[in-house]
């Protein structure tokens, strides 16, 4: 449970995708989200599918982890499919039963849109499955650096993210500890009427809030004592390295984009 919270769903195995620079992965994801809308016929969807499965293969992430990511959204996909199925009209009438009419176009649109959803989810899960949260943070920070000119607090955001990541496990331990202390004082968190249960959260939340506040204060003092005074003039220890594979991967996506443009109808 705890480990799962910390890493999101990072699967630590050696693969080409794992070794990629988080920047290239982020760029690819952004592009992919855009170009998937180019697909509008069977050939283009086949290309997208081919690309997605190729990437999944490269990542070597076992199927069950992907499934874990899909599970919560599978209903959404199904729902979108049904929505399109029933309400898109056009082409031949395929099925007619009282108020329910299903058209050829409905099936096509339903399939396309849910497939689009499906591929999007697969590719974005691939990011979290192969990249640690801190790498994603680093990648985002570097990519967003130009925004600093617009006074956007890029460094602060990234620091905040990495500190939150650092403190998630600590906070989980703290929660567990306070919960146990209050259970020992007779609080029932898991049973009783709903009103009681909501009331039971107070003895958990207040101490948690107080201790987080204290933690934040101590952390701020410790950071200041170690010379922290904002992003100005700071160097970075964590380093990203853009390699051949990253260029190749971005190139591959560009090729995919061109193919999609050629083959879309």
């Amino acid at each position: 449970m705890m480990e799962k919270m910390i890493f999101g769903r990072y699967v630590p195995i050696p693969s080409v995708i794992h070794k990629m620079d988080p920047r290239s992965k982020l760029i690819i994801i952004f592009l992919f989200v855009a170009i998937i809308f180019l697909a509008n016929n069977w050939i283009t969807y086949a290309l997208i599918a081919l690309y997605t499965f190729f990437m999944l293969g490269l990542s070597k992430v076992p199927f069950r982890f992907l499934y874990g990511g899909l599970k919560p959204v599978i209903w959404l996909v199904l729902f979108t499919f049904l929505l399109q199925l029933f309400f898109t009209k056009g082409g031949n009438l395929v099925f007619d039963w009282g108020p329910i009419e299903i058209y050829e176009e409905g099936i096509r649109m339903g399939l396309f849109i849910s497939l689009r959803f499906f591929f999007l989810i697969l590719i974005t899960s691939l990011l979290t499955l192969t990249t640690t949260p801190i790498e994603i943070t680093d990648g985002l920070e570097t990519l967003l650096t130009p925004l600093k000119k617009l006074r956007f607090p890029v460094h602060e955001m990234a620091l905040m993210m990495s500190i939150s990541l650092r403190f998630i496990p600590t906070l989980m331990q703290e929660t567990d500890k306070i919960m146990k202390a209050q259970i020992a004082r007779g609080v029932e968190f898991a049973s009783g009427p709903i009103k009681e249960r909501i009331k039971a959260v107070i003895p958990l939340l207040i101490p948690l809030f107080v201790s987080s506040f204290k933690r934040a204060e101590e952390l701020a003092i410790a950071m200041e004592a170690r010379g922290y005074r904002g992003g100005e003039g700071r160097t970075k220890y964590r380093q990203l390295s853009w390699r051949m594979i990253d260029t190749l991967q971005v190139g591959l996506l560009v090729i995919l984009t061109i193919l999609l443009i050629i083959f879309r109808s």
Partner: protein, 289 residues
């Protein structure tokens, strides 16, 4: 209330890839009125054992008996509340559990959860506050305005006010100054005697273990390494040292003295008073014999 653990095993996050055995094959008997000290390195499983004593954790193997209640692995355990009412637990840094607006409300929180009337609970709050050495004038204060040491005492009072038969203490004095440490340990000991409680203390202080406990259990890597009376445990100090554990200062001093003077005293002394008498006698006789 008699407590016994027999062959208790506990795995955190059982049946997941992160499963981890924290304690195994732990059997300890704690008859009513025992003062038991649990010692061992960090990570040896002391806190895990403690949490079994009021059913915060249910063993993954084995049985925990608390008075009439039997808590077993793989079964629905009912009436845990009754157990929790009888067993008060003071966690490490208990001041972290304070949350009410006033000290009084915080102290009566536990008792009232267990169905004690407000009037009775308030009476108990006063009583408990006196026991931990605080005055009634702080009843109306916010617990968050108190000093660290006072907060610690208020939190302890909150546990005492539940009138437990068993008191479970997880390093209750960490972070306090020497006087605070001493006062709180003495307070628990007085209470232990006066109310005929069973007390289970987790501590890194061998001095406290030697001074207060009737029984000592040493944990190592999740198992019970050794158990016995303080005299038994500390009579082979070199064994403890080999395990990387401390021995009480008195015992350490006796070891050093025996080595330097190449003598052996008749037994291991656990208090300064006894040891100094023995040494005085020895030196009076002259060591050269």
């Amino acid at each position: 209330m008699d407590i016994s653990l027999s062959q208790v095993e506990y795995r955190y996050q059982a049946n997941t890839p992160f499963e981890r055995i924290a304690i195994q094959d732990v059997s300890i008997d704690i008859p009513t009125g025992t003062y038991l000290a649990l010692i061992g390195h960090t990570g040896s499983g002391k806190s895990t054992v403690l949490q079994h004593l009021n059913a915060l954790l249910v063993p993954t193997e084995g049985t925990v008996k608390i008075g009439e209640h039997e808590i077993k692995s793989h079964q629905k355990n009912k009436n845990l509340r009754e157990v929790r009412q009888k067993v008060g637990i003071v966690f490490q840094f208990p001041e972290h559990q304070l949350f009410e607006e006033t000290v009084e409300k915080d102290i009566i929180f536990g008792p009232m959860n267990f169905g004690v009337s407000e009037k009775e609970a308030k009476a108990r709050a006063r009583e408990a506050l006196k026991q931990v050495g605080l005055g009634e004038e702080i009843l109306e204060k916010s617990p968050f305005d108190l000093s660290g040491g006072q907060m610690r005492r208020v939190a302890i009072a909150g546990v005492l006010a539940m009138n437990p038969d068993v008191l479970v203490l997880d390093e209750p004095t960490a972070g306090l100054d020497p006087r605070g440490r001493n006062e709180i340990m003495e307070m628990f000991y007085t209470l232990h005697k006066k109310r005929n409680l069973s007390t289970i203390l987790v501590t890194h202080s061998m001095e406290d273990a030697a001074k207060y406990a009737d029984q000592i259990v040493i944990m190592q890597r999740g198992r019970v390494m050794k158990k016995g009376t303080p005299t038994e445990i500390f009579s082979s100090p070199s064994e403890l040292v080999k395990m990387g554990l401390d021995v009480p200062e008195v015992v350490r001093f006796q070891m050093k003295l025996e080595q330097k003077l190449s003598v052996k005293l008749d037994k291991v002394y656990l208090s300064i008073e006894e040891l100094s008498s023995a040494v005085a006698e020895l030196l009076g006789r002259g060591v050269r014999t």
